[in-house]
Amino acid sequence: MLEELEAIQTEALAEIAHIADSPSLEQFRVDFLGKKGRLTAASTRMRDLPKEEKPLVGKKLNEARQAITAAIDQKGADFAAAADSEAAAGVDVTLPGVPLPAGNAHPLTQSLDRIVQALRHMGFALASGPEIETEWHCFDALNTPKDHPARNEKDTYFFEDGTLLRAHTSTVQIRVMESTPSIPLRIIAPGSAFRRDEIDATHLNQFTQIEGLYVDRRVTLADLKGTLEFLFRHIFGENTQVRFRPHFFPFTEPSFEIDIKLQIAGKEDKWIEIAGCGMVDPAVFEAVSRTRGDDLFDPDKVTGYAFGMGVERLAMIMWGIPDIRLLIENDARFLRQFG
């Protein structure tokens, strides 16, 4: 009996090596392990054995069943693996991926956000103000002479009631100084400004500016320099060269224009103007103090700096956009380049 079982096991293990497909394997399982299978048949004859032989034969029977089952399982797993890899082998991975609908933020938003995030990192809070403004907020309070060139219907959009579309976001400086209960004041104000200009490759009649203002008891020109150098290195890279050229603005004194050195591979390095800044002119503090009726912004007690820059220009420099009109046309072929 033991010999017979040994023979069945040997035969089965030899036979399974030749099985080539799943149906044959199933037939093989039925042949050996099924109800009428050879091993099953052998086991039924166990009861005829003498009692003392039973444990030994039983053990052998189990061994044979386990060995054959294990071989079948292994073979089955091999067949499944082969089938899996065959199925995968049939896939042409060079077919294109399924395109997913993808949108993205406008490049102006993205460049503005880079500036905003850098400045928030430096502890500036956001502020805003109306786009339709009074002449006082847009010009008078900002120390702009009554007959300043920008202050006329040729350059600024006006409404019948004498209000206007703000020509710069510096109006927000005045708005926040009017309403703040206390200093320090450390704000940035992104927003639209309007100039009565024909639209062409370098001009829009509406553009995005970001304004910054910091007023406290001892704000210095050195702080202004350090802050803006940090900002432009953050935006344009650690090694960006930044220079400050003295300039003139009615609402700051001293005033500076800021240039950065633009380095584009294959092109000559070029200084380009990128922002204006300066120390808040005492006349601005005086104008604010008159409307507030208190001495929070007494020019003898506080100092401050202000800066402003055009976001369209920054975006054009950042990405090499040659024509400003691309930024307002919203052609999806353009927009998706910034995804």
């Binding site: 949108g103 956001l126 020109l221 702080d223 320099k225 003139f248 999806a332």
Partner: protein, 801 residues
């Protein structure tokens, strides 16, 4: 202002000084050098030629055939396209072999069949300063055949941006003074710039009288008799050529020279054209004035004129008159040098759209101390160059503006503002170099008083002195610090972050953000399909530049539809755009414009990108739009209610907790077709303030379900017009604690009526039951479900199948 270095050399020894160094010095002192141009470098084989004749080209309307005398003795034929010359004019002629500009070789050739043996040139073609709209017309003095290089020696021109606070830099003297202060180079004073002693006597009222003292506080006139008007000597012509001005005659050239040299505008009248004395008065309303540019201006009582007994001879400070200027026939002149107040000149110049070198300087403010000096210098030059005898005295009326008071420097305040520990002596040295004089002279005091020179009338306040110190000291030497105090976050920070979250969600849903101009046209107003506030008025510009941008957008849709149109024309098969921004309306109650922040969505076309995988993606419908809106506020229940009478089709009012969030719907198909859309377009406009509020609500974690749920489906037939909202309300209103969700998963119509009567629809809902505390048994769920089914058929016209 364009500055010739040859001319500047009169005042400063800058030979051998690299131009780039001078440019850098000026730029970092606040006088930006915008351009550096070299001239007179490539003038070989360019000579003076006189135009002998000019005849139309037989085969080209815009060309002429000229015979010119190039000094060789034989006439030369040139085909020319310019129109600004006359026969007899002398012009530069590039002979064959000349090389202009970068590499433009002049050759003998034929133009439309006619021989041309060279080219007559404009200033630009020769790299010279001056207007480039025609040939460069040379002085009649220049001999034919003279090499042009003799007339235009090599020079470098700096184009300076002079800021409006520095009118003192609008002259060679001023620029030289500034460079001298910045570099410590001594100023030179060659003969040509020497100013004789200045004398003036009060004018008798019948000679010079001012009645417009507010506009012109000081006026001087000097009569010079017996002059001979002729072309200027070469040195003077060289100067004007270098400045890009065309020499005219000696008297006019001298006034122009003195203007550029000193910054003081002058005017010379032909004395024979003055009837009586000079009166400086306000113009009469409607008074006519013919300016020397040939334009007639109708004046008003804010303009100041220089008049004789009868008429205005000059528009004060801006331009002389056509009839009273110096001509070849002039024998006696009256030389004006005056001070006009800046605002007055600014307004006149703007009102008449008339600008001149003279008005440019007066409107910024000339140096009061230079008024008589300029007159004196010009008189000396006229006598030397044009002959004649000046009257002994200059006649003057009125008073020159007084020098403003002294200005104090507080060293401690200056240091505090600059953020650098600058020695008082350094500050003093800078101010002294700029020509300021310290009063008193007791050194070591922290506060000092400074006398301001008359050419620096922009220095009025302490801060003005600090600016000078900062400018000359240089920001480069000031340390970069970042001292700061912490600012508190406000509503604008939250709104900015909320915008960013909404934007990110929309971008993830395949939407592109747009940025459009907030001004729209009258015709775009018809694209206002969503009326945000019925009864609100338009916000219209008083002075639009074009009809295209005349009204502030009352809705984001008009510009967004233009974006859709543009992209459809580019062949877009799917549109997904949004914009966030301001809309403007006048409130019906107050009539003042209000600005509100809105979000607009526009979508249409394929819902997926067509590919080999899915060749025909489903087309966007209303429920895609609704899905997008719902995705913007996850966890919030929005209500969508049909609005009758809106401008959209399928228009719905969207609300959040009873507050109106905005409108959504489908663009009228006619409008979509008008932009060549082959699919329906869906739009929505929603107010952002409610989003901001919702996004500020704090989130709270909810325990995860620990016990499994069971579902039971209901299939039912209901009347076709029963809104789904009715069923939603029914399920939401159940007080069955185990029911946690009822979800619609199928809607079926059969218009043919075969499977289902056409006035019915079949709906399938899946109801979810769960007990938070235990595993449900089938019996418990069946019991609860049966109750709901009973109520359903009792309450609603529903047949459960």
């Amino acid at each position: 202002m364009k500055v010739s270095l040859n001319w500047l050399q009169d005042h400063l020894d800058i030979k051998g000084h690299p131009v780039s160094e001078i440019a850098e010095t000026l730029t970092f002192a606040g006088v930006e050098v915008e351009d550096i141009a070299e001239s007179g470098r490539n003038l070989e084989k360019v000579v003076v030629a006189r135009v002998l004749s000019s005849d139309p080209h037989p085969d080209a309307d815009r060309l002429s055939i000229c015979q010119v005398d190039d000094g060789s003795g034989a006439p030369r034929q040139i085909v020319c396209g310019a129109k600004n010359y006359r026969v007899g004019d002398k012009v530069p002629l590039a002979l064959p072999g000349a090389v202009l500009g970068e590499n433009f070789k002049i050759k003998k050739g034929k133009l439309r069949g006619q021989t041309s043996e060279g080219m007559m040139c404009s200033p630009g073609e020769l790299g010279l300063p001056g207007d480039d709209d025609g040939l460069l017309i040379l002085s009649t003095e220049a001999a034919e055949g003279t090499p042009l290089a003799e007339l235009f020696p090599p020079d470098t021109s700096l184009d300076l941006e002079i800021t409006p606070n520095r009118p003192d830099l609008l002259s060679y003297r001023g620029i030289a003074r500034e460079i001298s202060a910045l570099t410590d180079k001594p100023l030179l004073s060659p003969d040509s710039t020497r100013i004789p002693e200045v004398t003036a006597t009060p004018a008798p009222a019948d000679q010079v009288k001012i009645t417009a003292g507010g506009h012109c506080p000081f006026y001087s006139a000097r009569r010079i008799g017996g002059i001979s008007v002729k072309p200027s000597p070469q040195w003077l012509q060289d100067k004007l050529n270098a400045a890009g001005l065309r020499p005219i005659n000696n008297v006019v050239d001298i006034t122009n020279y003195v203007l550029l040299e000193t910054g003081q505008p002058l005017h010379a009248f032909d004395a024979a054209r003055i009837d009586g004395g000079l009166l400086v008065r306000l113009a009469r309303p409607g008074e006519k004035f013919l300016a020397l540019d040939g334009e007639e201006h109708s004046l008003g009582d804010e303009d100041v004129v220089i008049a004789d007994r009868k008429k205005a001879l000059a528009l004060g400070g801006v331009m002389g008159g056509e009839d009273s200027g110096v001509t070849a026939a002039t024998r006696d002149i009256v030389l004006e040098s005056a001070y006009f107040t800046p605002p007055c000149i600014r307004r006149t110049s703007r009102r008449h759209n008339l600008s001149s070198d003279s008005s440019y300087r007066f409107e910024r403010g000339v140096n009061p101390a230079g008024v008589l000096e300029a007159s004196s210098l010009a008189t000396r030059l006229i006598v030397e160059i044009a002959g004649g005898t000046p009257e002994a005295e200059t006649l003057a009326a009125g008073e020159l503006p007084a020098n403003p008071g002294d200005v104090e420097l507080h060293e401690e305040k200056a240091r505090a503002l600059l953020g650098v520990d600058l020695e008082g002596t350094v500050m003093h040295e800078i101010l002294a170099r700029l020509g300021l004089e310290k009063k008193g002279g007791d050194n070591g005091q922290p506060v000092s008083k400074w006398h301001i020179p008359s050419h620096r009338l922009d220095l009025l306040r302490h801060i003005d002195l600090v600016e000078e110190i900062a400018r000359v000291y240089g920001l480069e030497k000031i340390p970069a610090t970042t001292a700061a105090s912490i600012a508190e976050l406000g509503a604008d920070d939250h709104d900015y972050d909320a915008d960013a979250r909404l934007r990110a969600r929309l971008c993830n849903l395949g939407f592109f953000e747009t940025k459009t101009i907030k001004l729209i046209s009258e015709s775009q107003m018809e694209d206002q399909f969503i009326t945000l506030d019925p009864g609100a008025g338009q916000v219209r510009l008083k002075n639009p530049l074009s009809d295209e941008h005349a009204i502030l957008r009352p809705s984001l849709l008009p510009p967004l539809l233009e974006v859709a149109r543009r992209n459809l024309h580019q062949g877009a098969s799917s549109l997904r755009f949004f914009e966030m921004g301001t809309v403007f309306q006048t409130s019906p109650k107050e009539d003042t414009p209000c600005e509100e922040q809105y979000l607009a969505l526009l979508m249409g076309g394929e819902t997926a990108v067509a590919s080999w995988h899915d060749a025909r993606p489903r087309e966007t419908d209303f429920f895609d739009l609704r899905g997008v809106i719902e995705a913007l506020l996850p966890g919030k229940i929005l209500t969508f209610e049909r609005v009758d009478g809106g401008s959209l089709i399928l228009e719905v009012a969207v609300s959040l907790d009873g507050a109106g969030l905005g409108r959504a719907g489908q663009l009228p198909p006619a409008r979509a077709r008008a932009m060549d859309a082959s699919f329906p377009i869906f739009v929505a406009e929603l107010r952002l303030d409610l989003f901001y509020a919702a996004l500020r609500e704090p989130l709270q974690f909810e325990e995860l379900d620990r016990f499994p749920a069971m579902t039971r489906d209901i299939a039912m037939e209901v009347p076709a017009d029963l809104p789904n909202a009715t069923l939603n309300r029914f399920f939401e209103g159940r007080e069955e604690p185990l029911l946690v969700d009822a979800r619609l998963f199928d809607v079926f119509f059969d218009e043919s009526g075969k499977k289902l009567s056409a006035d019915k629809k079949s709906l399938a809902y899946s109801l979810t039951y769960r007990d938070k505390e235990s595993t449900l048994t089938a019996e418990t769920v069946d019991e609860a479900h049966a109750k709901i089914l009973d109520a359903l058929v009792k309450d609603l016209p529903v047949q459960v199948r």
